[in-house]
């Protein structure tokens, strides 16, 4: 089974870095799609079936928190595992993201092996149970 991933970040440099790290982290990596903000991400998610979303928080037009909240309101998207990759590592932010049901958090800057560690656990769980429970975070 190939795994389709959506990378959401307003920096093309970061998207390229994450894409490279993904290729080292997921042997069954399928299509990798990119979006510059939450609005573009939602459009892509409604068009293409995704198995994982990696998103930044601080983005123009629609930020990562708004994107995750929107996804939870749409039944078709609510079960897609979301991992946040952001510079914002405050305890206040992490607590808010936990409430939204994200599955993992990576603090920038991160190493490829850290991404691999987070994803291996999430994808293993997803294979066993396709319905990801809200609030089941992998911190």
């Amino acid at each position: 089974m190939s795994i389709n991933v959506l990378i959401v970040d307003d920096s093309m440099t970061i998207r390229a870095m994450i894409k490279k790290a993904l290729s080292l982290s997921i042997p069954e990596l399928g299509e990798v799609h990119e979006a510059e903000n939450g609005i573009m991400a939602l459009a892509r998610l409604t068009q293409t079936s995704m198995d994982l979303v990696l998103t930044d928080i601080n983005m123009p037009r629609m930020d990562g928190v708004q994107l995750i909240a929107k996804m939870k309101q749409i039944p078709k998207l609510a079960g897609i595992p979301v991992v946040v990759i952001s510079t914002d590592g405050s305890t206040e932010r992490i607590r808010d993201l936990e409430t939204l049901g994200i599955r993992g958090y990576l603090h920038k800057p991160f190493r490829p092996e850290q991404l691999k560690e987070v994803l291996s656990h999430i994808l293993e769980i997803s294979h066993d149970d396709q319905v990801v429970q809200s609030g089941n975070c992998d911190f």
């Binding site: 093309m12 440099t13 123009p60 510079t87």
Partner: protein, 152 residues
């Protein structure tokens, strides 16, 4: 709220070393021959408001993009990523700094980073210039300055 006792150079160096895998050396003073062409700015709001400013050469942005992307700085695709790489450097450095320096528990909002061709660092809107540091990153010299204002 006051800035915690800190070494700005050390805090920035740690982030850059982890992000871009560059060798970082903090310089004692404004180095002779420092001739930046680019200036980047990112503003932050939260328990403390302010901005982080970086000044550097154009070639540094290409070297940075090459390091981040793992490709030769002379590669034809570098130029398209050079300013974007510098913006992301500011974003990551500032995002880490505000929590380390001011309040790890609180959320800060960061503006979109902005890169421009160089202009003298204005002082009209600066309440307090906390610190300027000069770093040697590989063979390039980069200046970072932190400015804080009273909370809005």
């Amino acid at each position: 709220m006051t800035t915690k006792s800190f070494n700005l150079g050390t805090a920035i160096s740690e982030v850059i070393e982890n992000l871009a895998m560059m060798v970082v050396q903090e310089l004692d003073e404004n180095p002779d021959g420092f001739n930046p062409q680019l200036m980047g700015t990112i503003e932050f709001t939260g328990p403390v408001n302010g901005k982080l400013v970086v000044r550097c050469s154009d070639s540094f942005s290409s070297v940075l993009a090459g390091n981040l992307l793992g490709i030769d700085p002379a590669d034809q695709h570098i130029q398209a990523n050079a300013w974007d790489a510098l913006e992301e450097l500011l974003n990551v450095v500032c995002g880490n700094l505000v929590n380390v320096l001011f309040d790890r528990n609180k959320t800060f909002r960061l503006s979109s980073p902005r890169i421009d061709l160089i202009q003298p660092l204005g002082t009209n809107d600066i309440d307090e210039l906390d610190q300027i540091v000069y770093l040697r990153l590989d063979d390039e010299i980069v200046e970072f300055s932190l400015v804080t204002k009273n909370p809005g």
